[in-house]
């Protein structure tokens, strides 16, 4: 898992200084203002190359009571450790989660495992907005089956506070009494330093970068949740805050800063998660994105099994594929299902990257044995049906 600053220092000769905050960038002089938080010391540190990897910060709702105690976000190792400590010590019985995305769903599982009573408030008509609504209903069903009370189409309006502590979440429809609140409303790029230094920003306020991860200011690079990516299928800038993307950005920036030649290859928006035993995966463009782009497309949704139907542990799987209606090229895939479902998305990420058509995907030579899939893999079944509607 995490490597310690000492390991970086001794094994790789990387001078890591924790509890040191950079408070300003002076790109003209090529230096940054550093504050040693433990020694109250401040100085200018010169650089030849500067990498901005300041991450993202959780969106805080601008509603009454949002500063009350008992409202948490989890976006760093420290914030996760802090929340777990609070759960262990004060044993809250009830939690309200605001936001039905990755963080909200993953935390719903964590709270359920602790035997807590969990409600989830989401202003959209569906959970997991990165999937189409007809796929998200399966996630909503699974959440409900596991005891989560879902409140969709309900915006957060305020927190009711007593003695400085949150007591209830007020939505557009109701008041939900609770012991703690978990915020999962998404993140925004943490780019205050870049903005103050007049380093141009782009998509959703992320630092604008080219494919080498160079900003528009000489000698300054950006990577990770604070930086833009571009979509492989559209070529357009997109902001994706995911650890995988951050690592890929970092490798490219690191290589280029060291005098090498590396180029970021873009994202498809591939992501997987799990809520209890239900696996969720997506890649490529979803219906909402294709409609916004004005693309003509066809889609097919199928239900099948994760393993041979008679095999122990075989579970349900839903697959949705989307393809260009003129060329037949697969543009997107979404999967919701039991164990073994999610990582099938990697086949589709590879297929989309290679520009395969639905017909070509239906002809792929995929592995089969009863513990792993039905005779026809669910992807093959979906692609075959989709190919009937697309060339």
């Amino acid at each position: 898992m995490a490597r310690t600053p000492e390991e970086f220092r001794t094994k790789q000769q990387i001078d890591v200084r924790v509890l040191h905050e950079v408070v300003g960038i002076d790109p003209k002089a090529g230096r940054v203002r550093v504050v040693d938080l433990s020694a109250n010391r401040e100085w200018w540190e010169p650089y030849d190359h500067l990498l901005i990897a300041t991450g993202a910060v959780p969106l805080r709702p601008k509603v009454p009571g949002a500063d009350a105690a008992g409202i948490y976000g989890v976006h760093t190792l420290e914030s996760g450790i802090r929340l777990r400590k609070i759960l262990d010590e004060s044993r809250p019985a009830r939690a309200v989660i605001v936001g039905g995305g990755y963080i909200g769903l993953e935390m719903a599982e964590a709270f359920l495992l602790r035997g807590m009573q969990v409600s989830l408030v989401e202003k959209a008509p569906q959970v997991m907005g990165t999937l189409d609504e007809d796929m998200a209903v399966h996630i909503a069903q699974a959440l409900t089956d596991r005891g989560v009370t879902l409140h969709l189409n309900e915006g957060l309006e305020a927190f009711e506070v007593r003695d400085g502590r949150v007591r209830a979440v007020i939505t557009s429809q109701r008041s939900l009494e609770t012991d703690i609140v978990l915020l999962g409303m998404g993140v925004v790029p943490n780019t205050d330093l870049a903005r103050e230094a007049h380093i141009p920003l782009g998509e959703r306020g992320a630092v604008r970068v080219d494919r080498r991860m160079a900003t528009q200011v000489e000698g300054v690079w950006a990577a990770g949740d604070c930086a833009e990516s571009f979509h492989r299928l559209t070529g357009r800038p997109i902001h994706v805050a995911l650890g995988t993307v951050a690592n890929r950005h970092g490798r490219v920036a690191g290589m280029n800063m060291a005098g090498g030649e590396a180029s970021f290859s873009g994202v498809l928006g591939t992501a997987v998660t799990r809520i209890c035993s239900l696996e969720i995966a997506r890649t490529g463009l979803q219906t909402r994105e294709l409609e916004a782009l004005g693309r003509s497309f066809v889609s097919r949704t199928i239900e099948s099994h994760t393993r041979a139907g008679y095999f122990p542990g075989s579970g349900r799987i839903h697959v949705k594929l989307l393809a260009d209606s003129d060329t037949g090229a697969v543009l997107g895939a979404q999967i919701v299902g039991e164990e073994g479902a999610a990582k099938r998305i990697d086949v589709m990420a590879a297929a989309i990257t290679a520009g395969l058509t639905a017909q070509e995907v239906s002809e792929l030579d995929l592995g089969y044995a009863p513990p792993f899939s039905p005779l026809w893999d669910p992807l093959i079944i979906a692609a075959r049906l989709l190919a009937k509607d697309a060339p």
Partner: protein
């Protein structure tokens, strides 16, 4: 090209530490400093 250049990285999480590791591997003479305001670095790279 004998003089060693200096790379400063703001943030010691996934992107920052990946970049630090790759840069140092590519050019061992490079001086790499990472400033992280929190108490931890994260993610192996």
């Amino acid at each position: 090209m004998g003089t060693s250049k200096k790379v400063v990285i703001i943030g010691g999480d996934a992107a920052g530490m990946s970049a630090a590791s790759v840069a140092k591997r590519k050019d061992p003479n490079l001086q790499v400093i990472v400033f992280e305001r929190g108490p931890h670095t994260s993610y192996s790279a």
